[in-house]
Symmetry: C2
Subunit: 410 residues, 2 copies
């Protein structure tokens, strides 16, 4: 066929075949489980958002160049959401009068960004978002960071596999404006420079140039205020010890205005930022009304999977049914059809091959797919009512009626 | 604020606040549970697909007018997928050599369509998609229909709450071409007319006009072939009895070419089509290579929720944590913070209000949110190490150490 269709997905997005989907679900389920243990409630929203939502805080340039934004036929500008924080702020602001604060909310949204096509750069990912609204104290700060910590622990990570770096934008603001007496432009430049600190060798020179004298790096590293120290103390009480103050953690988003944090992988092969978050007490004012204090973080599936693979933390995940019936003769298909329904009625995932393929091919397929149990259904079995259940990994076999075998499988 | 942002979502899409999200998850979990009991494996793909994928079978007009289709900056035409079948056919065709057939796959994708804005017309929904690839026999046909049946049963529906109407496009094709000797144009018109049969009063007149003589409706209703009757017999064996042959079931999609079915709500208030599906043995040939026979269906979340509400089948769903700590004095917050972590360590979802609000307001909030248990943490409790666990629905109270209360909650 000359004009046959391509089987490739759209550039920069992923297909999830069952083996990848099993990993995806394992990650999502673990995220949900730990978030719910902290009393977080799940919400969601559409991937389509009015483009205005991102203009105010994300900046015109990013909306135009780094997001999927288009005009619908009603001439509305619509964006495939690049991050979840503006959405959750919108939803909370909309029902601020009915909602019970403090609010603990989580979501696992699909996010999109327009990337120039490059090897390995994806245009979509999924991200766990956890936020606490309506509480501005060290307990809320520490809870959000402890939640992030316990998610990594739940995946099997050890304390020395990662480090949590925290900072307080308020602390830096005060240091720049009061101690160093910098003006707004200088402050802005210092933030940009700090954000690049770990990647450049010329930090000291560039800092001197901005502030007009050498920056005292010991003074910068020794900064501390009451709130940050209360937060670190609370984390210590909870047993979260791989935390350190790092003044270069400023995070890119405009809306952060308090505690910010970033978690880094400590392994030499994957030594990079895993995810981060921070406090954004004033974002909801975009929608009118008083501000609702908030703190949260976002953790992406692609980065998470890389981390789990780097540290060999991915378990062997089951895909497919627990039991496969092997149909030994064409005459036995009818019986297999009924046996399957009987076993399935006990909430045991079970399938069979109704294509009439050879028995040895059916066994080979069950082995290839790591099916835990098989039961042969042939003329003898149908006549006698006695079947054989085989454990595919141990090779152990048990004979009995279907009712007896159901007991064995459960 | 003059230029404050709207809190409305984009036109035609939904926000899922926790109470709606709980219903959504209940529907998704039930779908997944029954599909997996039949050995179906979960897959997924991005909502972004190349627009070409829909042109071939869906038609240029639908792609242009009823989908979200836009050009990206690489001048690629991209569509927010309006249905999942082309995607799953693409994925199966891409790995036809490695995959084990028969393949049972399911997915719960988000789908989009461009609708003129009208009250109650949504532009997105979620849909369970179940498909069997690589098997063209009555067992595969019956299994797909039985799966759809058992999903409704799992939600608590009774046999007389819905009816499953089946037809075979092959049967109609033969009747039109051989028995009635219609040409292609007449056949096409008859399909269009049958699709509208239940909605119009002029079916007989219009049919006569197309075929040039009165249509024998008894003959039409009495049609049957070996395959359809084998499928109905297999369904009977599985105990699926609310099934009937209905020649007006043709389904809109171009790619159906065998058994088609549609499930109708029988309640007088909601007497309408719930969902449907059918056999599409030739869709994969669009991607080159031999055809891979396939049958499947799609079941939407909006329709499903309407059905559950109409038949009062939605259970009372838990939202939020199982336990709420009530902090009786500001001095007790530190202790509450640690007690929470101790209980949470036993996989019990638990939260507390660290805002310093009055105790009676905290109790009122726990009651409003239907939290099952509360534990008061005050100065006396901290001093004595003895706490009171209150069951919020029965009013029953138990005193003990935190370790003892954990046993009570589990």
């Amino acid at each position: 066929m000359a004009d046959k269709l391509s089987t490739d997905p759209y550039k920069g997005v992923r297909d999830f075949y069952p083996e990848d989907m099993a990993i995806q679900r394992y990650i999502f389920d673990t995220w949900a489980n730990v978030a719910e243990s902290y009393g977080f409630e799940r919400y969601d929203a559409s991937v389509l958002e009015p483009a205005e939502l991102y203009r105010a805080k994300t900046g015109e340039e990013i909306v135009n160049e780094q997001t999927y934004t288009f005009r619908d036929r009603g001439d509305r500008e619509v964006t495939l959401r690049p991050e979840m924080t503006p959405t959750v702020a919108r939803m909370v602001a909309a029902r601020r009068r009915e909602l019970s604060f403090p609010l603990r909310w989580y979501s696992i949204p699909n996010l999109f960004r327009y990337e120039r096509t490059q090897r390995g750069r994806l245009r979509e990912h999924w991200q766990l978002n956890c936020d606490i609204f309506g509480a501005d104290n060290q307990y809320a700060d520490a809870e959000i960071i402890a939640l992030a910590y316990h998610i990594l622990k739940k995946f099997g990570a050890q304390d020395d596999d990662f480090v949590i770096c925290v900072n307080d934008r308020g602390l830096l603001n005060e240091y720049f404006s009061k101690t160093l007496a910098l003006n707004e432009e200088q402050t802005h430049k210092m933030y940009k420079l700090l954000d690049r600190k770990e990647k450049i060798a010329t930090f000291a020179e560039e800092a001197s140039e901005i502030i007009g004298k050498p920056l005292d790096e010991r003074e910068l590293n020794g900064l501390m205020n009451e709130r940050l120290s209360a937060c670190l103390a609370a984390l210590g009480e909870l047993g979260v010890r791989n935390v350190e103050f790092r003044p270069s953690i400023v995070r890119g988003f405009d809306y952060y205005d308090g505690i910010v944090f970033e978690v880094f992988d400590t392994s030499p092969e994957n030594n990079r930022s895993l995810f981060g978050g921070g406090r954004y007490n004033n974002l909801t004012t975009l929608f009118g009304g008083d501000s609702i204090p908030a703190i949260g973080f976002g953790m992406g599936d692609v980065t998470m999977r890389d981390f789990l693979e780097t540290h060999k933390l991915l378990p062997n995940l089951a895909i497919g049914p627990r039991v496969m019936l092997l149909v030994a003769s064409p005459a036995a298909i009818d019986e297999a059809f009924l046996v399957r329904e009987e076993i399935r009625g006990h909430d045991i995932p079970i399938a069979f091959d109704f294509s009439g393929r050879k028995l040895k091919d059916q066994i080979a397929q069950a082995a290839k797919r790591n099916i835990p149990y098989v039961i042969v259904v042939g003329d003898d079995e149908v006549a006698s009512g006695t079947y054989t259940l085989r454990n595919m990994s141990s090779g152990e076999e048990v004979r009995g009626t279907i009712a007896e075998l159901i007991e064995k499988i459960r």
